[in-house]
Symmetry: C2
Subunit: 395 residues, 2 copies
């Protein structure tokens, strides 16, 4: 963003995708007073319901992306599904405009970085080349190759879709050759990974600006079920300070190495072998929702500051500890009828709903509780999330 | 809000007015997942720029108000300027619909309460009748009456417009009969008030729901210049705990007595004579902007919870202390060009801009700093606000 663009007109950030990440980024943009627009698949998308500047269109269609980009100073993303060739085209369009003395929207993060969130095999290979500890992996095309991996690493073997997986989709833990054969029968390109033993899953969230400034959030523990994040505990309970610093350092170095602009979330396994990188995301991340109230600068504001190349905000905690629990849709859709109970039972719980139609298993919101007694915070967050979803207090 | 309305469709709150208070309420509504719409005078109004459900119209025109109210579950207000007869008509329309078994929007706060923010003379008389300590006052229509007040209370005498004043407008501190005569020459109905000596100006912010639940924020000190709030310090430095409780209690009792639903801000003089009530507001208030980061429940979320008759949120502080400073427009409009400096100089400062065109003296944003060293927080907030406004660090 040049000085010209930063005149009396506020800078405009366009976010491709209009899920809950865009919705919460929209809240942060309102505070900063910048322009913010979203490219939504439908007018009912979570962010489209609340963003005053919504365009509906198809993120897989280059003309829609180019139309959306017009008038934006920066383009950024709510998800990693924009085709790589379109990212390249958007970057070329911006470079051409810059060559003509005009300013086209900067694409942040750029396609070269986003590639490593779109192609998990490429990510594994790049990380390994950079010396980052990862689970062992191998490309596989048939059962013989999978069995060869298993001979080395033992069963179960994890098969992962190279592209398109998220929230547990595209990941199969195969206990037997028969199960692996079943996965290989799908028309999906997969690779094999060892099934890592771990004590906890962690996430290290950092931001990096085009200037190269970095900021690291406290490392958190994520509690997953079926590959889906259910709870986030900040900071990760029982994590040694040295190990936490190691994770932050690794995430900051990775952000620089991959030339990430904006947020980078590094999902990690912590186990007897130390830290191993599981996944990367280059956008606001479920493991950082607690930062809305729990950190001085929320991940959503931080992402906007980073992609606008503004100085980053203080990422440190606003309370000693925070617990976040996701709210998943259940059979009964009447979530607002249950507000009364949840709010009366716990005036300190912060409820975030995403405006999504309630469908069983769908992530429709989250709750955050701050304080200094992690066991208590966690139980309060779980209880509120379970009640919102089902009208019952859960475990 | 009945169970019927609270079904799968989220409840819809309509806020009349689209200034910065509506803008920040919009942010809170996004988090709660409720529907939120604003009635804006122009599409460039602060909240109209960011609210996905904006209607432009005239809040002094009953047809516009009735059209806006359609589909809302609750109507509430960003300012106190909706004519009393229109408020009464909206309440009658809701009562008629209720009589017919339908649900019309509840008006919260109601016209009977809002009257005391619209007519300052009626407010003074009602407060006095309720036994609330206030500055001495008297209706005046000519200089003889003002001079009679001055004979009792001494000069200067404060003349206040009965209706329509805000942010120092409609208040004249007259040191001499000549100055008073000059004010009386205006075509404005005024009354006289003693010029109270005070050590500090305070504000007690409370919320009250239709159920009658109340919640009180910590009492703050407001620092005014020319009748305009420049800084807010939370909690009020040096305020004795007993005095703070007295102010909170008074505000809660007043909210109940006046049947306020939503927020009530009570501006107070603290001086040798104890606490005296200066002004009332029944909406989010500049003295509560610090609650966005500084309290567990922001005043904007609290107002929405109160008018929706939901259980109120925890109003307590999220940090030991908070300092807020307003940002006023200055000669140079390039506020975004100065973001870089302010954010780099102080990564912990929280900047809020309202999307308003920069005009000298216009309130265009605010900054908040949290911590535990009030002198330092105050100086950080002042410096950031001054630099954003002018490009200079101020005092």
């Amino acid at each position: 963003v040049t000085d010209d663009q930063r005149g009396p007109r506020p800078p405009v950030v366009g976010m491709v995708g209009a899920g809950q990440l865009a919705r919460m980024t929209c809240q942060a943009a309102i505070g900063l007073g910048i322009g913010f627009r979203v490219l939504a698949g439908t007018p009912d998308d979570s962010a489209a319901l609340v963003c005053a500047d919504t365009m509906t269109g198809d993120y897989t269609a280059l003309p829609d992306l180019l139309a959306f980009a017009r008038g934006c100073d920066v383009l950024t993303f709510d998800h990693e599904h924009v085709p790589g060739e379109h990212l390249a085209a958007l970057e070329r369009a911006a470079a051409d405009k810059a060559g003509a003395g005009q300013s086209g929207p900067a694409v942040r993060p750029g396609g070269a970085a986003l590639r490593y969130t779109q192609d998990k095999l490429a990510m594994r290979e790049r990380l390994r080349a950079f010396g980052v500890p990862c689970p062992r992996h191998a490309p596989v095309t048939d059962l013989a190759a999978v069995s060869a991996c298993a001979a080395d690493w033992g069963w179960p073997i994890v098969l992962k879709a190279v592209t398109g997986g998220y929230d547990g989709r595209g990941v199969w833990v195969c206990g037997t050759p028969e199960e692996a054969a079943g996965v290989l029968a799908h028309p999906v390109v997969v690779f094999a990974e060892e099934n890592v033993a771990f004590d906890a899953e962690l996430a290290a969230l950092v931001a990096r600006s085009p200037h190269g400034q970095g900021a690291a959030y406290p490392v958190v523990q994520t509690v997953q079920r079926g590959g889906v994040c259910h709870e986030v505990l900040a900071p990760a309970p029982g994590l040694a300070a040295g190990r936490a610093r190691e994770a932050q350092q690794m995430a900051l170095e990775l952000a620089a190495e991959l030339d990430v602009t904006g947020l980078l979330a590094v999902e990690l396994f912590a186990g007897p072998a130390g830290l191993l990188v599981n996944e990367l995301a280059m956008r606001p991340h479920n493991s950082g929702h607690w930062t809305i109230e729990g950190a001085r600068t929320s991940q959503f504001e931080q992402h906007l500051r980073a992609v606008l190349d503004l100085p980053l905000g203080d990422p440190w905690m606003a309370a000693p500890q925070a617990a976040m629990a996701n709210v998943f849709g259940a059979a009964s859709p009447d979530i607002f009828g249950r507000y009364e109970h949840v709010m009366a039972a716990d005036p300190g719980v912060k409820v975030h709903l995403y405006g999504k139609q309630v469908r069983p298993g769908r992530k429709i919101g989250h709750v955050t509780v701050l304080g200094s007694d992690m066991a208590g915070l966690r139980s309060r967050a779980r209880r509120a999330a379970a009640y919102l979803a089902t009208g019952e207090e859960g475990e």
